[in-house]
């Protein structure tokens, strides 16, 4: 019998990046096939091709279902073929109830009006089949994130999905909810549904899957039976890459500790009582790069946001600059104390896309660069052009609109913005996300240059080689707690990944 799904020799390029390079993947009926790899390995891109987000013609290679070649030109096409993708960001309408969400756009009708009895009856049966005890009339807003996730699965099944893609389904679930989810997946397995399970949590992968496929740098590294391998071997396949080829050799001259954060605790603003970061401490020395490793959802970004005074919810922290305790209640305070923060997601948090390079560069440092009330455009141009030249931003003029630049150049503008505040401590959160290899190397060189010039740098990245290649010391976070401390010499990919997945603890 032909496999339920066969993806062969899939290639996909974005401007300047080859995201997928001849990837092959297959799925059998009633199988859970795990897809693992580091961020940027190409998992999401592969699933978006399967889902029809990138329509046929925008990728190379072949997709077939039960032996028949298929060309999806839209998400609707792929859904009609029985493929349902459950993304990390849920797509439920919060102000409709459970049953309304399940049948949204496909409401059972009688005489042209919605047949509510049929709708609730079918919803009830569907939920009961999945052993879910959710009242179909509950507003989705009032469900927990975990229940919403399960509801998404119910919704997918109501559309007779034969292939279910789960992208980090347990990221927001409690342990009990994970058990419920796994119960449902086992149930579906018995019904013959094929499932693609994307997760960073290898323990779950080993519990639930029959086979594991490892992607790295857009290529299939291996597909193995889960029973024939173990976690260390999978981790080795995920990270295996010649780190020293990308990272410029550099030894930093470490000076005294100029920044320290103690007992940082951060509460989830949307779930009172849930801690995103619990009693984390770290310090940064002059001329040093401190790496913060951890998987998505480990609390890395929240830690930096809270220290920078930008976390929306409740938090507590003791912060010392030059050994003296300071209060940071807002980014304004943080900037005053010489902290700069190259935030993640430059389009959302970093840039005003339809303003010029210069306006963006001088935004954070304006009150230092220019007059306090009246701006001095000439002084800004001078500072902006110098920063642009230092960082090798490729543009004809600082008056170019930032939104027209390439990702790498945009990232350099964000970096320039913070350098123009004259920071002594610089936080970098995912500084190379979504930029091409050449631009990455330039950013790495800048990080080393800045450290050499005496800045203390705190680097957060989900790309392990990046953390290991640049940092003098590494701390590892797992579920909001520090699970590992390493020096550059001790930090092997395997050891750090073991701490990041919660399998090991290494005390300082």
């Amino acid at each position: 019998m032909a496999a339920l799904l066969q993806m062969q020799n899939i290639t996909k390029s974005f401007p300047g990046v080859r995201a997928l390079d001849g990837v092959s993947f297959d799925l059998n009926q009633g199988e859970v096939h795990a897809l693992v790899g580091e961020n940027g390995a190409g998992k999401s891109t592969l699933m978006k091709i399967l889902a029809g987000v990138y329509p046929h013609g925008q990728y190379g290679g072949d997709i077939s279902l039960e032996g028949a070649s298929r060309r999806f030109t839209s998400v609707r096409d792929s859904e009609a073929a029985g493929i349902a993708v459950i993304y990390q960001e849920l797509s439920l309408v919060k102000d409709l109830n459970v049953a309304e969400n399940i049948f949204l756009g496909r409401e059972p009708r009688r005489f042209g009006v919605i047949d509510w009895e049929d709708l609730y009856g079918r919803a009830h049966k569907l939920l009961a089949d999945l052993h879910l005890t959710i009242d179909p009339r509950t507003l989705v807003r009032n469900l927990g994130i975990g229940q919403q996730q399960l509801l998404e699965i119910a919704k997918a099944l109501s559309q007779n999905a034969r292939i279910l893609v789960l992208d980090e389904p347990t990221a927001a679930l409690t342990d009990a909810e994970v058990e419920t989810l796994f119960g449902i997946l086992n149930n579906l397995r018995a019904r013959g549904v094929g499932m693609i399970y994307i997760s960073h949590k290898l323990d779950e992968v080993f519990r639930i899957s029959e086979r594991i496929t490892v992607l790295r740098d857009g290529k299939t590294i291996d597909t193995v039976a889960t029973s024939a391998t173990d976690e260390p071997r999978v981790i080795a396949k995920m990270v295996g890459r010649a780190v020293d080829q990308i990272f410029p050799e550099s030894t930093h001259d470490r000076g005294e500790v100029i920044f320290e954060a103690r007992n940082v605790t951060v509460e989830d603003p949307s779930v009172p009582g849930k801690l995103l970061v619990a009693e984390v401490g770290f310090s940064a020395r002059k001329g040093e790069v401190l790496g913060v490793a951890g998987l998505m959802g480990s609390g890395r970004s929240e830690l930096l946001m809270a220290v920078f005074g930008a976390h929306a919810g409740r938090k507590s922290a003791e912060i010392l600059v030059d050994g003296k305790q300071v209060t940071i209640n807002s980014p304004y305070d943080a900037i005053d104390h010489g902290i700069g923060f190259v935030t993640e997601d430059r389009k959302r948090y970093g840039l005003i896309l339809d303003q010029t390079i210069l306006r963006n560069m001088t935004l954070a440092g304006l009150r230092k660069l220019s007059g306090r009330f009246v701006t001095d455009e000439d002084a800004e141009v001078v500072a902006g052009e110098r920063a642009g030249a230092d960082l090798r931003i490729k543009t004809n003029s600082v008056f170019t609109i930032v939104g027209t630049l390439s990702g790498g150049n945009q990232q350099k503008v964000v970096l320039a913005k913070w350098l123009l505040t004259n920071p002594r401590v610089l936080f970098l959160d995912e500084p190379t996300r979504g930029i091409d290899v050449g631009a990455k190397q330039e950013i790495y060189a800048q990080i080393n240059r800045l450290a050499a010039s005496g800045l203390a740098i705190v680097l957060v990245s989900s790309e392990l080689p990046e953390v290991l290649g640049l940092s003098d010391r590494v701390i590892v976070l797992h579920e909001g707690r520090v699970t590992g401390h390493f020096t550059r010499r001790e930090a092997t990919p395997e050891a750090v990944m073991a701490c990041a997945t919660g399998h090991a603890q290494v005390a300082a």
């Binding site: 920078f308 980014p331 948090y349 303003q355 306006r359 220019s370 002084a379 390439s406």
Partner: protein, 386 residues
Amino acid sequence: MTDQSQTGRLKLRTSALRAYTMLLALIVIWLFFQWATIDQYHPYGIFLGAINFSKLLQQTAVTGVLAVGMLMVIVCGNIDLSIGAVVGLAGGIAAMTQSWGLVPCLLAAIAVGLLIGALQGTLVAYVNIPSFIVTLGGLQAWRGVILKLTKGSTIPVEIPFFRSLGRDFIDPRIGLALAIIAVVLIILSNMGRNRARQRHGLQTISTASTIARIVIPSLVIVAFIILMNKAGGLPIPVIFLLAVALAGAFVTANTTFGRYLYAIGGNPDAARLSGINLKRYVLAAFCLMGALSGLASLLHTARVGSASPDAGTLMELDAIASCVIGGTSLMGGRGTVFGAVLGALILASLDNGMSLLNVENWAQYVVKGGVLVAAVGFDMYGRSKA
């Protein structure tokens, strides 16, 4: 990489072009009305004659002043629907407090506007109520307060100087003196700018370009004053409009406050993470809007000669329309004072010109509505091509 920078430059050029498109549209409207008002007694038309042009500018003053305030509110991502009612209330209070004397009653109007702006701004910035809701509530509530205070009656302006704020002209010689001062300031600022660029090691502006930057505005100013003097001198409301427009242009383009308003409207998250105190600056924008509403109420009350309970009705929509016609994005982050005042001038020109032509009332509304939608339509079309 290079081609990207080039499209960037191209984009900048088209955005500058957009401002000039509106100026061009204004000139076309003016020439049309000039042509349409030709008759046997006026072989060159009436519209751009000294008397009518002076009247046109006086009609622009109130909307123009309000548009400058509205621009700042819209640029930081908000809206103020209450200003028509605030104009009515502040004007009513000025008229009712005339017994306190000239200066106190004028200050009372501005203080009322400022206080209302501060209250509404606080609700928007610190209580997080959307500005649309706060000011929609204000639109109704302040109108109610007027009715209570005035008991529904119209109060005449009795202090002669108050009345002259909306109606009189300054002595033509003072107008000329102002023009000369303006020309001197233009020369000094151009020279100062070149010196500053030299100090920073930037390329200095060429002599030819410096001369053009001095001569063209100077000629426009002098010609403008001569035209105004032919009609009896510069009207006082127009002086207020010019002062507010210049101050507004300076604040939005050359101060940290102005820069932050654009940043807040352009990307509030990025602005907040860059250390900008969003709440404080949004509050300040509403306070300025309120104070300018107070000033506008004085000009309006003085011009009409009395404060009536329904004064200012729909003025908020004229101010918003002026901003939008002048290229302001209602999503925030984009727009200029120059454009907003230009928009006010376009609206006033349509009003004035159509009245001269005895266009029926209903048709005037249709034309003004059409122009508003068409202006944004052209803008969107241009943007999709750019």
